[in-house]
Symmetry: C2
Subunit: 498 residues, 2 copies
């Protein structure tokens, strides 16, 4: 039995002659009473082929294979699918696609949802090259993730060559090695098995794998393959990986540092990914200093790197207005102590950016770069040493507690006096407000509460992770004493008298 | 004897019939061997008139008055002027006007100079309504200023009505009071005497008076006078005050909060100020959220309020590029604990903004709003309680130590890797570099020093106000260990071997 949203896999045997990676195609249409899903099988060496399928509905699915290899053609496959177990919510997709039209709102455009309707708020982190570290380090990474709040990991398929990343990995996506060269016409199945194990282990922890297909930090040549080879690789990657429910596609990390690839290339590659992916996983492309045109229809969400050194997560408001898609600030500098400004901000500042971006209706990803340790989280994984992770966990709880349909308060002229300086998440019916004060340190704050409404008010210290309920209920013109500290928030919930 | 750059004053007696403020004009042309300066005298009640003159050159100056009052006409005046004493450098003007063409540079456009050629780097503060406080508070303000590093004060002529500013002043620019109304056709000379005493006392301390002519925080009607009355008032203000060498004209504080005054009004008023001011003092106009067009020729320097809550002093670079004039960020939020975001940032953050702006080739003004004290510095003056002033004094010393012709490092592609994140002041001949790391906290920084040059390097802790010289001299590829703290700077000076 295959569990709903998990992978059915059939092993087939076919030809090992010539170059099956290039020569052989293998397809299957999985059908139940009402649906037909076409999947692409793939070669995995030694005459072995696999057909995978992720059933999105329980019940019996059947398929008959098609192939240009007679040994693989017309094979009957049966996938008996049982309902998802607890905690298995399927893919993460756009909330606007999942939520019934009857109750959907404009705000849904900016958010995600599991396909079973469960809310998904990404709180990601970054371990670019964790899959290419020794197994013991990988286990440490997984252990760290298990004890963290992070539910998405940005990770590359190709190894990373950059400061602190100079060791060759044990194997590569393609056959070969640095000394002898690579055979860019043949994949190396053991690498892909390892990669898939990593993705699978993340899935067991409830973590989305934000898979970066191409990136510029390279000495092996994988960033400079020609268009045909790129597409050969992308096809194989998608055919193998799309069956994992927790996969997101990032076409590139810092695409603009690959200037030899044109916009036409990226558009072509994106179409290929869309065409080969049987399940419509989320897709984006990540920038360094120059933004991709995130209005492109194939881009499901904006995976952005802050393009200003100073105005970072605050720009979420602006980006929402431009793109009308979920905004995920996948890099807005990391906590750490490296020489570069992208990796040496304080935990306070990164936590502030997280709050600022979330209150503005966006999402952020974490990263950590403490160079005194053997493994540096941002690339190798390993252990976390910073002050952010527990604060991000605290924020994640606060965000999970926000009502559905909460949205950033629009500053209109009549409320500008009170709110020009401070972002706020609220419900349109004024039953919920969450103000975040960032680097401001007021001794008090005044509010004119909605007439006829009473509120319970909590003072949240986002750095010290405390929530203090103020005594009594509040209505009318109020003044809230505050502790003259940075990083405070105020939460107001309307009291419902039964 | 009148000291150079100080005020010669002649008392004349004329008519007290009708309304001399409106009816009588009085002029004098002061001449020495080569120059002729026209000044406007003014009425000061009870048939008394004054003619003032600020000689910019020593020697004998003579004048004959002209007036439509025969009693004031054809009076011979003699001003014997002795050279300026030590510490008296005359007016502050644009460096580009003062510096001989032969040695001037593009960078001069962004800076100021005393008229005797002495460098002037403004480090201003804000005490909007200090002149309208009780005398004991004024004395306290002056004592505080005397012990501070501030060399410019933003101050209003009209009183301020706003939170924490609700007490009526003892007197006003015009005759009358709130209860009985004001006579907008008659000035109140005692007010002007008091104002002039304040300006004079600032001058004694070496402090520029950035005089705000109009502003919106009003309950008495001074912000809503008609155009004719505005001009009547401006004429009188300039006729009296322009003789003080330390006066700067700010046409308005937050002109955009006076929407009933049109751009045409401001342009007309500015022309009036230029025409009546015999000495060409500096002129600007200050915004709230909407910028004035600072490219206007009458504007000598940009007196700007940050228009973004997050990107503040960093915008100096952008504004320099647009305006090609000195950039003075006269408000970029204040240290304090008021409820509003303009007045509750930390001392660390305001100090950071000062550094950031100065390293980018601009200037800033300070303000402080601790609401628990009876006087709040930003408006009343009194005492300073914040953590910024001594740090700004430290910065002022560092800035005074920079060589002339230092300018912000332009980030070009070949040096971008090292400098995209951190602003730097440097000399074009690479003999001086001052890097400021702001909220970054690197554990080290690497540099490729200019071939053949050796440098002495100092590590500056801008918050703890320490300068630590690193042992030895540096050349080639270097790595500087840093303390993983925010608010650090690195200063490099080329070693000159004699």
């Amino acid at each position: 039995m295959t569990e709903q949203f998990r992978i059915f896999e059939a092993d087939l045997t076919g030809t090992d002659q010539g170059n099956p990676y290039k020569d052989i195609w293998l397809k299957a249409d999985f059908m139940n009473d009402s649906e037909k899903i076409e999947v692409n099988g793939f070669y995995c060496g030694n005459g072995n082929y696999k057909v995978r399928f992720m059933p999105a509905k329980p019940g019996k699915w059947t398929a008959v294979t098609r192939s240009n290899d007679p040994a693989l053609d017309k094979m009957e496959l049966v996938c008996d699918c049982m309902p998802a177990k607890e905690g298995n919510h399927g893919r993460v997709l756009l909330k606007s696609e999942i939520r019934p039209r009857s109750i959907s709102s404009e705000e849904d455009n900016y958010h995600f949802s599991y396909e079973d309707g469960t809310r998904f708020q990404p709180f990601g982190t970054t371990c670019y090259a964790w899959i290419n570290q020794p197994e013991a380090i990988q286990e440490q990474t997984l252990e760290t993730l298990k004890n963290s709040c992070f539910n998405k990991v940005r990770m590359c398929i190709f190894p990373k060559f950059y400061t602190y990343n100079t060791v060759n990995p044990p194997c590569y996506a393609f056959e070969g090695n640095e000394e002898d060269g690579f055979d860019l016409s043949r994949f190396y199945p053991e690498f892909w098995d390892k990669l898939e194990k990593c993705i699978s282990r993340l899935d067991e922890l409830g973590i989305e794998a934000d898979v970066i297909l191409l990136h510029p930090y390279d000495k092996w040549g994988f960033s400079k393959m020609d268009r045909e080879t790129d597409m050969f690789y992308l096809k194989y990657a998608v055919d193998r990986l799309c069956h994992f429910k927790n996969v997101w596609w990032s076409m590139a990390n810092e695409f603009d540092l690959l200037p030899w690839k044109s916009v036409e290339d990226w558009e072509l590659y994106a179409r290929l990914v869309m065409r080969r992916d049987s399940y419509g996983h989320l897709r984006s492309i990540h920038n360094c200093v120059k933004l991709y045109d995130h209005t492109r229809p194939w881009i499901t969400h904006v995976s952005i790197q802050r393009i200003d050194v100073y105005k970072t997560a605050e720009a979420v408001s602006e980006w929402r207005g431009i793109y009308h898609k979920p905004i995920v600030v996948d890099e807005c500098a990391y906590e750490g102590n490296i020489n570069f400004g992208w990796g040496n901000i304080t935990g306070e500042e990164l936590t502030r950016r997280f709050w600022e971006g979330c209150i503005r209706g966006g999402y952020l990803s974490h990263g950590e770069v403490y160079v005194q340790h053997e493994q540096i989280w941002w690339s190798h994984g390993g252990k976390l040493y910073g002050t952010c992770p527990e604060r991000i966990a605290f924020l994640k709880e606060i965000m999970a507690d926000t009502p559905e349909d909460v949205s950033p308060l629009k500053v209109t002229p009549d409320i500008q006096e009170a709110n020009w300086d401070v972002p706020c998440l609220c419900k349109a019916d004024k039953s919920y407000f969450l103000y975040y004060f960032g680097f401001f340190k007021p001794a008090f704050r005044t509010y004119e509460l909605t007439e006829g409404y009473s509120y319970e008010i909590e003072l949240i210290d986002t750095w010290n992770m405390t929530i203090r309920k103020l005594p009594g209920v509040y209505s009318g013109s109020i003044k809230i004493d505050m502790p003259e500290k940075q990083y405070m928030a105020i939460r107001m919930k309307k009291v419902i008298y039964e």
